[in-house]
């Protein structure tokens, strides 16, 4: 592999990893702060992608669609937490796993009933549809660079939110001692609701962002879900920083695995996980 190709593959790995981070960050947040394991997280990613498709068809503009989609997802997340997930905090992990597993089935079928089973494409907006020539045969789509940039911005925003705002402080406090925070007069229920809505929105936003480059199809959430779990396992539950590092590692393993050991490409990510677990059974990082 020559240097140019290597660098381009590195770029591919980075872009894939950053998108993965975006989806996984929501999962690890919900997990770390509320202690809920949510298997339906992949369904939110799918929901975002289908929203992007439906809203772009309706409004003709991807950016408008994404803005609308963000609002919608936050609302849905809010309602879901209020109606269903808030009852799960006291239940044990097995119940959470099964209930959210049941939710996956329901969400897939609801999607099928509302939107049908066809495969759809979402158009890339004009201003981002160019490609940058990287080598004499290969060019790199500007939209993918845009996606990576957005993921980085979001990572920074999340870090700032959690470490440098009052809300972030309340969230972190609430995750270690819920009763104490409540007795200090802070509405912990509302905070949990906000965090859940944030997690859902992050996943949906990732789906919306990725929709133009992945197609929109049934079952797209399932593939993403398992990899997200591996991200959380490697990175450490509840650690957003860990999710970033893990996602990038996975991006590298997956991309270079496909090129170097194509027969075992699917395994590389799990081998990586096994190695990390040997070294640190609870993931690389532990706190938020």
């Amino acid at each position: 592999m020559d240097l140019t190709t290597f660098l381009i593959q590195l770029l591919n790995a980075l872009q894939y990893g950053l998108l993965l981070f975006l989806v996984a960050s929501g999962l690890t947040l919900i997990f770390g702060i509320m202690g809920i394991i949510n298997l339906a997280h992949g369904s939110f990613y799918m929901m975002g992608a289908y929203m992007a498709f439906a809203l772009t068809s309706a409004t003709g503009n991807l950016f408008v669609a994404i803005l609308l989609g963000i609002v919608l997802s936050a609302l849905i997340g809010f309602l879901l937490e209020w109606g269903l997930f808030s009852r799960l905090y006291k239940r044990d992990h097995l119940d959470q796993v099964l209930l959210t597993y049941g939710l996956i089935l329901m969400f897939e079928e609801i999607r099928s009933m509302i939107v049908g089973d066809d495969v759809h494409g979402v158009r890339i907006p004009e201003i981002l549809s160019a490609s940058i020539q990287l080598s004499e045969t290969l060019s790199y789509p500007v939209y993918r660079l845009f996606m990576s940039a957005v993921c980085i911005v979001l990572a920074v925003l999340m870090y700032w939110l959690i470490r440098h705002t009052r809300l972030g402080m309340m969230i972190r406090a609430g995750s270690s001692n819920r009763e104490m925070v409540q007795s200090l007069g802070i509405n912990i229920d509302l905070i949990y609701r906000l965090v859940f809505a944030l997690g859902v929105t992050l996943a949906a936003f990732a789906g919306m962002l990725a929709a133009p480059v992945s197609s929109v199809y049934p079952g797209m959430g399932n593939q993403v879900l398992i990899i997200c779990f591996v991200v959380v396992v490697i990175g450490g539950v509840g650690s957003v920083w860990g999710a970033l590092v893990a996602a990038l590692l996975i991006g590298l393993a997956d991309t270079f695995g496909k090129v170097i050991i194509p027969d075992f490409a699917g395994l590389t990510v799990y081998l990586l996980m096994a190695v990390v677990l040997l070294w640190r059974p609870e993931g690389i990082f532990r706190r938020i």
Binding site: F31, G35, I37, R87, R91, H93, L94, D95, V97, L98, L99, Y101, G102, L103, I104, L105, M106, F107, E108, E109, I110, S112, M113, I226, F229, V230, V232, V233, V237, D263, F264, A265, G266, L267, Y270, L271, M273, A274, L277, L278, P281, E282
Partner: protein, 324 residues
């Protein structure tokens, strides 16, 4: 958690009787279905040992089921039926060894990490069979002849014969049930129960907790292997999907559905799950929605599973009564 419900001898024997005579009256298709249910019951009971009696929620149990199934296909010769003497122990051993190796990794974690890590390892095994040339890849592999049992020149049992197969499955179901009951009453069983209720206490009492957990994990894996062996023999066909996390989720569901910590519950859960699938898929193509709804409702409203349903109904009808 509820303590193990005492078994009612007559109820069990009656169920056994019904199962034994079913093939004589039922149609081919429903006998086949019941065979599948019995295989799933073995699978679910093996998981109940981990989840219900040791408190280890494994989301990757399908891995051992699948490894045994693939072992059957890989060990069977292409143009002859394999010998039961060879294939059954090989399959169960493969599952047990896999459980041992994976157990060494995953049993170092607890609680939520354990769930995730078992899921991840099962996925790894899934990809081994899905991507590599080991099996037939994503399309699966076949055996051309199902195993048989021979002594010398005479063929005693042919697993390709539907009736033979049904009774072998029934026999193994009973054997698994009896084995587990005995195990649970043994010192190992008591140790596992102790680990479930308070692991720290067991540690402080000097029990080698890790070894006990590993033993339980391997036994559960081996029993899942028995189910996997039977599943491969039923249609002579194995695909990577039997190792998927959906399968792991389904068997977990069966255990919950029936009521964890009660061995009968696992079997009932397997029965209920398969029957629900059959009924729902005949109703609508969106049957998974109904299935998902049932799952959500059972988790939200029936923490004790179906086994507790009768208790609740009684309490509702009779009214009041003691708590607990």
């Amino acid at each position: 958690m509820s303590s193990a419900i005492k078994t009612s001898r007559s109820a069990l024997l009656a169920t056994l009787l019904v199962l034994s005579i079913f093939p004589l009256f039922g149609s081919d298709y429903y006998s086949e279905l019941l065979t599948k249910i019995m295989i799933m019951a073995i699978f679910a009971m093996s998981l109940d040992l981990l989840v219900g009696f040791t408190g280890l929620v494994s989301f990757g149990h399908a891995a051992f089921f699948g490894i045994a199934a693939y072992a059957v296909v890989l060990v069977s010769p292409q143009y002859d039926p394999a010998s039961l003497w060879l294939v059954l122990p090989a399959a169960v051993l493969a599952a047990a060894v896999a459980a041992f190796v994976i157990g060494l990794f995953v049993l170092r974690t607890k609680g939520i990490y354990f769930i995730m890590v078992t899921l991840a390892f099962a996925q790894m095994i899934y990809f081994v069979f899905h991507d590599s040339p080991l099996g037939g890849g994503s399309d699966g592999v076949f055996i051309n002849f199902k195993p048989e049992l021979r002594i010398g020149e005479t063929q005693l049992l042919d697993l390709g014969n539907a009736a033979h197969f049904y009774y072998i499955v029934l026999l193994l179901l009973v054997a698994t049930y009896v084995f587990l009951r005995i195990l649970l009453r043994s010192p190992l069983g008591h140790a596992l129960a102790g680990i479930k209720s308070n692991e720290h206490r067991m540690l402080s009492l000097g029990f080698p907790v890790f070894l006990y957990k590993l033993a339980g994990f391997v036994i559960a894996g081996a029993l899942a292997g028995v189910a996997g062996f039977l599943s491969a023999c039923q249609f002579g066909f194995v695909t990577p999907e039997i190792l998927s996390w959906h399968q792991s989720g389904n068997v977990l569901l069966m255990v919950i559905l029936g009521g964890i910590g009660t061995l009968n519950g696992a079997a009932i859960g397997a029965f209920a799950f398969v029957v629900l699938q059959e009924v729902f898929s005949a109703l609508t193509k969106h049957w998974q929605f109904l299935m998902g709804t049932v799952i959500v409702l059972v988790v939200m409203l029936l923490p004790g599973g179906l086994a507790s349903l009768t208790q609740r109904v009684r309490r509702l009808l009779v009214g009041g009564g003691s708590n607990g």
